[in-house]
C-alpha cells in the first residue's frame, strides 16, 4: 500500500464512490490551507496550562461558560469533575482543547464539536457527539441511543455498549463502538465509517446511501438496501490502525469482521445544481 498516495488510498477505501458532479459538492476542504484549521475567533490555548472545574453545584450552562472562560485565559487542558450526568456538557467547542470529564454525562454531551480532544471516564446519555465536525471523543463506559447522530467528522469512540440508531444520518467521520450497538444503527448513513466490535441490532444500515459499517459480532439483520461488502486488505489495515489508536481490537481479529455497505438500489443523490436542474427539467 505504500505505493498508493493518500487520495488514491481514500478512494480505494470507498470514501469517494459517490457519483457526484454538482459543482458545490466538488469543493473539498483543503488541509493544506492552514487558515482552514482554526476559526478566526478561536482562543489560543496552551495545552501545558491546565484548569479544573467542579461541576457539582453548577448547572450545565454554568459548566459550559466556565470551560469557555478558562479557554479565553489560554487554558488548553481542562478537567471537569463531578459532571453528575448533567445534560449538554462540553458542547459547541470549535477549537483545539484537551477536555476531560471525570464522570458521566447526560443527554447531548459533546455535541457540535469542531476540534477538541475529549475523554469521558464514565458513561454518556443519548445523542453524544451529535453533529461533531472534527476532533476526538473517547468514552470509557456505555453510551445511549443516537450516539454520533449526524456526525460529519472526527473520531467518536465508546468502549462499552451503545443504544439504538447509532450514527443515524452519519455524514462523515468515524464512530467506534467497543461493545454492542442497538437497532437501526447506521440508519440513513451517508458517508463515513462505523465500527461495531460487538453485536449489531436489527435493521443495521437501513436505507444507507453510502459509507461503510464494520461489525465484529453477530448482526441481527440488515436493513433495506444494506448489503455485505467484500473486505479488502485496505479495510483490514485501516481497521487495525484505527482501533489501535484507542487501545481496541476486534474480538475475532479485523480480518474476520463483516463489512456492510449500501446496495445503492434506493439512493438518490441529486447531482445537479439548481440551474442545471432547470435545464434538464
Amino acid at each position: 500500500m505504500a505505493e498508493l498516495d493518500q487520495a488514491h488510498e481514500s478512494y480505494e477505501l470507498g470514501m469517494h464512490t459517490e457519483q457526484l458532479s454538482g459543482r458545490t459538492q466538488q469543493v473539498f476542504f483543503s488541509a493544506e490551507e492552514s487558515d482552514n484549521l482554526v476559526y478566526p475567533w478561536a482562543p489560543v490555548v496552551d495545552f501545558d496550562k491546565s484548569g479544573e472545574i467542579d461541576a457539582e453545584s453548577l448547572n450545565q450552562q454554568e459548566v459550559n461558560a466556565e470551560i469557555r472562560r478558562l479557554m479565553s485565559e489560554g487554558v488548553g487542558t481542562i478537567t471537569v469533575r463531578n459532571p453528575g450526568a448533567k445534560h449538554s456538557l462540553g458542547v459547541g467547542i470549535l477549537s483545539r482543547l484537551n477536555l476531560h470529564f471525570d464522570g458521566s454525562l447526560g443527554y447531548f454531551g459533546c455535541g457540535l464539536l469542531d476540534g477538541p480532544n475529549v475523554t469521558v471516564s464514565g458513561r454518556v446519555g443519548w445523542s453524544c457527539g451529535e453533529n461533531m465536525m472534527a476532533g476526538t471523543v473517547l468514552i470509557e463506559k456505555n453510551g445511549g441511543s443516537t450516539f454520533g447522530a449526524a456526525i460529519r467528522g472526527g473520531d467518536l469512540v465508546c468502549k462499552g455498549d451503545v443504544g439504538s440508531r447509532t450514527g443515524i444520518d452519519q455524514k462523515g467521520g468515524t464512530i467506534i463502538v467497543g461493545g454492542r450497538a442497538g437497532a437501526f444503527s447506521g440508519f440513513m448513513m451517508q458517508r463515513g465509517r462505523m465500527v461495531i466490535l460487538g453485536d449489531a441490532g436489527k435493521n443495521l444500515g437501513d436505507s444507507m446511501y453510502d459509507g461503510t459499517i464494520y461489525v465484529g459480532g453477530k448482526i441481527a439483520d440488515l436493513g433495506v438496501d444494506a448489503v455485505e461488502g467484500e473486505m479488502t486488505d485496505l479495510d483490514r489495515d485501516w481497521l487495525t490502525r484505527k482501533l489501535a489508536l484507542y487501545g481496541l481490537e476486534s474480538p475475532n481479529g479485523a480480518e474476520n469482521m463483516t463489512k456492510i455497505v449500501s446496495g445503492k438500489q434506493l439512493w438518490n443523490y441529486d447531482n445537479l445544481e439548481p440551474t442545471e436542474k432547470k435545464l434538464v427539467l
Binding site: 453528575g84 447526560g106 446519555g125 439504538s164 454492542r180 437497532a183
Partner: protein, 311 residues
C-alpha cells in the same frame, strides 16, 4: 415527553417515598403538569389499602357547593362500603378531596370498585395489600408534601412526571394507572400507543373499565387482562411488546416485582442501574443520581427488551 422512574430494594425495606420523590423531582423538566407515585409498602395481614378521591383539584377552586358535595360523596362511599360488608379499619384524609382507608374485605373486589366509582366524582386510585397510588397536579415535591409521602417505607415504587399531550391536565389523566380491579398492579408509561382505540374497545367488550382517555391506562388494563387469563407478568409484558403498536417505554409493578418493557424501535429512553440489592431505572440518569450521587455504571435496555426484578 413525560418522565418515568422506578426502584426496587431486594430483600429489605427503605424510605421509597423520599427516594422516588427525589428521582421524580429531578425529572420535572420532562413533565411539569402532574406527578404520580405508586408506592409498595409493608402489607398488613387481612387488610387492603384503598386510595380514592371524590373530586378533582380543579373542582375545589370553583363553586360554593363543592365542599358540601365532597362531604356528601365521601359519606356515600362510606355507606356503600358498609353495605358491601367492607369493614373500615382506619381512615385518613390525604387532602380535602382524597382519602386513604384501610379496609377488611374478602368479597368481590370488582363489585366493590364498581359500586364505589358509581358515586358521582368518585375514582378509586388503587386498591392493594401493598400498593398505595397517589397522583395530583404539581411537581414531585409539591405532591409528595401534600400527601405526606416523604416518610413512606416500602420495598419498591414507580412514578411519573407528566407533560400532557393527548389528554387533559387533571388527576384522572395523570399516571400511574392502577390495573383495575387487580390488587397491587400499577403502570407508568412514556410514549404513544397508535392502536389504542382498537385495544380499548376489545378490553371494554371483555368487561374492563377505563377512567381516562389516556393511552397509558390501556397498558395497565391490558396487562391485568392477560394476567387474568393466566399469563404471568413477564409473559404478559412480552406479549405487549408484540401487540401494542407505537413508541413506548413502560414500567410496571406488582406486590413483589418491578418490570420494564421497551418497544421494538427503542424510541423512548430508559437508563438502568442494577446492584445486588437495588435496582433503579429512569428516563434520565440524573434521576438515578439523585439517589446515588457517586459514579455508578448504568446502561440503556435495548429494543424490544423486557426485564423483571423481584423484591
Amino acid at each position: 415527553m413525560c418522565g418515568i422512574a422506578g426502584l426496587i430494594h431486594r430483600g429489605k425495606s427503605s424510605n421509597v417515598g423520599r427516594e422516588l420523590t427525589d428521582m421524580l423531582q429531578s425529572l420535572k423538566h420532562r413533565g411539569p403538569d402532574s406527578t404520580g407515585f405508586a408506592l409498595y409498602g409493608n402489607p398488613k395481614s387481612g387488610e387492603h389499602v384503598l386510595r380514592f378521591k371524590v373530586a378533582e383539584q380543579e373542582d375545589m377552586r370553583h363553586g360554593f357547593q363543592i365542599h358540601d358535595q365532597v362531604r356528601e360523596r365521601r359519606a356515600e362511599v362510606d355507606r356503600r362500603l358498609d353495605e358491601l360488608g367492607a369493614r373500615r379499619v382506619s381512615e385518613e384524609e390525604a387532602t380535602e378531596y382524597a382519602y386513604r382507608y384501610w379496609i377488611s374485605y374478602d368479597g368481590d373486589m370488582k363489585k366493590l370498585a364498581d359500586y364505589v366509582e358509581d358515586v358521582e366524582g368518585a375514582e378509586i386510585l388503587s386498591i392493594g395489600n401493598a400498593l398505595e397510588l397517589v397522583k395530583d397536579l404539581g411537581d414531585a415535591t409539591v405532591v409528595s408534601g401534600q400527601y405526606g409521602l416523604g416518610e413512606f417505607g416500602g420495598t419498591h415504587a414507580i412514578g411519573h412526571t407528566r407533560m400532557a399531550t393527548e389528554s387533559d391536565v387533571d388527576i384522572r389523566s395523570a399516571h400511574p394507572y392502577w390495573a383495575y380491579p387487580f390488587n397491587d398492579i400499577s403502570v407508568v408509561h412514556n410514549g404513544q400507543l397508535t392502536n389504542y382505540w382498537g385495544f380499548r374497545r376489545e378490553m371494554e367488550r371483555r368487561g374492563h373499565r377505563f377512567m381516562s382517555n389516556c393511552d397509558s391506562e390501556l397498558i395497565a388494563v391490558y396487562l391485568a387482562d392477560r394476567m387474568e387469563r393466566g399469563e404471568d407478568l413477564e409473559e404478559a409484558m412480552h406479549r405487549s411488546v408484540d401487540e401494542l403498536d407505537g413508541v413506548f417505554t413502560y414500567v410496571v409493578a406488582t406486590s413483589d416485582r418491578l418490570g420494564m418493557a421497551k418497544d421494538v424501535m427503542a424510541a423512548k429512553p430508559m437508563v438502568l442501574y442494577e446492584s445486588d440489592d437495588f435496582v433503579a431505572l429512569a428516563s434520565e440518569e440524573v434521576a438515578i443520581r439523585s439517589v446515588f450521587p457517586h459514579e455508578i455504571d448504568t446502561y440503556d435496555p435495548y429494543e424490544g427488551e423486557v426485564m423483571v426484578w423481584q423484591s
